[in-house]
Amino acid sequence: MGTWDGILTGFAVALHPSVLIYCVLGVVLGTVIGVLPGIGAMAAISLLLPITFYISPEAALVMLGGVYYGAQYGGAVASILLRLPGTPQSAVTTLDGYPMAQQGRAGVALFASMMSSFVGSVIGIVALVWLSGWLASIATEFGAADYAAMMVLGLVAASTIGSQRPAKAFAMVVLGLILGCVGTDVNSGASRLTFGRTELLDGINLVALAMGLFGVAEVIGNIRDAERKGVPEHVNLRQLIPTREDLRRMTLPTLRGSALGCFFGALPGTGSTISSFLSYATERRIARQPEHFGNGAIEGVAGPEAANNAAAITAFVPTLTLGIPGDPIMALMLGALVIHGIQPGPMMLDAHPDMFWGLVVSFGIGNLLLLILNLPLIGIWVSLLRIPFRWLYPAIIVFVCLGVYSVRGSTFDIAAVAVIGAAGYLLALARFNPALLLLGFVLGPLIETNLRRAMLISRGDPMVFLERPISAFFVAVTVLLILGSLLGVWRRAKKAATPTG
């Protein structure tokens, strides 16, 4: 199917009232979730997952996608107004967004984040169409060794790129891989690490793990801090209007951020959080006056916001064309598809073109809606920040429990959420990144299956990973990343050892 036919099919699917309403619902819900600190897209999508059993697969994916990129728009609001990131992806926006707000330019900062988010998304959509077509055409060449090598690269990239403490990051990935082993081993049928619990035979429930690590752990960590933050000032429409100079300074950072986001979003493992940090670092490095950064530089808002939105869109590339989720949120999306009997992979573009193109067009509609709705509604989003956290978190706890329970009607999973939540809080306290744990958990079983298959085909010869050109390329990049990160650790250690005056 050609691109134009595809887009026409997509409009037919996405504009159908039964899908359009879920698109609107998804983006509005996503914005609300993004604005409110303490709950992110991860918890929201876990909560909505059981609801998707009741609607068509197109509507389900369109809604969950809308929550994901809608949260990217909303996340910037709390970052700019309260220096409290609404979502991890918008943490970097606090660095210059909050100083802008203190200088009375909150409205302009909000405009910059919305506008560059929109541009980033549009560029991301173009990249999604182009990359998916290209990847699907070469993915039929991929063997078990290539899949395994690519996923290992993804995990290594996620724990080394932009990471100050690669050992801690990688420990989280490995812990996630171990948790992914729990349950029945697909190759031999042996039940591993279940300690006799029949509830664990299917493995640890992904929704319980995600909710424990992100919902419960974040609630515990936020109860006291969230109360101390002040209330945001009122922002009206007139304050949103940027000057000509602002627009000029936003343009190039937005485009560069979008390009970075498209690349790192499509790579499994790295995603919108890493893209936004890299975009900020890039802008500061190439700026003529780097001293403006941290004191309200509009470039530091535009670049990262464009990057995280572009990455949120291109994250669908490996998920849809290879069936490999690039981040934990994509794993939940993949789960939603599998529930409906759709197995994403190289064949999906041919087997379910209406699904793929409907999603692409819905991204366009959803982002346009967000841009049109959010600017006039900014007053409402700001007033959401006035809701005290003590009214919200008991509701979050109850919804988390019911959401987990509804997946398979098991109170064992509610108990699991409590245990995982406690562990997650301790991990967060020791500054381990739980997102990497979840990534390892999701990719673990896929890596193990492909690794064992590759070794069986090669008769136990590990050289197979270097003999196949595709996998050799992934192995080479992985080795480079590890060496680069060891060099970084060594340099920092040397710097710390020789005190500079």
Partner: protein, 147 residues
């Protein structure tokens, strides 16, 4: 000397977990060969790697000063108790009773005195969950205790 206790304990916990997993799986599951990996291969190797990484994290932390972040133990206990009550009560006490009691318990952690707002909050959330999950999504859960 004030050491970096977060990394020290974090690393030690990783080493302990990794070693426990590796030893347990080595004892209980077939390791297999490179050609025909058994169910034990992956967890044993991963457990060993995790134990090693834990040491890499913990040992430098011993020689480094660090700042200890406050530990919200009370908040954690209250939130976990609310979840436990909810999980225990859902099928036994019904949706309404377990939601209201979970909200009341969870609200104990809030740094704000008074009982009226807690009771109103419990009522509002209970009605909301009943409308969304029972009326909207038609979940098969008891609403009231089954006497």
């Amino acid at each position: 000397m004030q050491r970096d206790y977060h990394d020290l304990w974090g690393g030690a916990a990783m080493t302990a977990t990794g070693a426990a997993v590796a030893l347990y799986c080595l004892g209980h599951y077939d390791f297999g060969t490179m050609r025909q990996m058994g169910p034990g291969f992956f967890p044993v190797v991963l457990g060993a790697i995790l134990a090693g990484l834990g040491l890499l994290i913990a040992i430098p932390a011993w020689f480094r000063a660090g700042v200890v972040a406050p530990f919200a133990a009370l908040d954690a206990v209250v939130v976990l108790a609310a979840i436990a009550i909810f999980g225990f009560g859902l099928t036994r006490l019904g949706l309404v009773t377990s939601t209201a009691s979970a909200v009341l318990i969870a609200s104990l952690a809030a740094p704000r005195g008074g009982w009226l707002w807690r009771i109103i909050l419990a009522l509002v959330i209970t009605v909301l969950t009943w409308v969304i999950f029972k009326q909207g999504l038609q979940m098969t859960i008891p609403v009231w205790p089954d006497f």
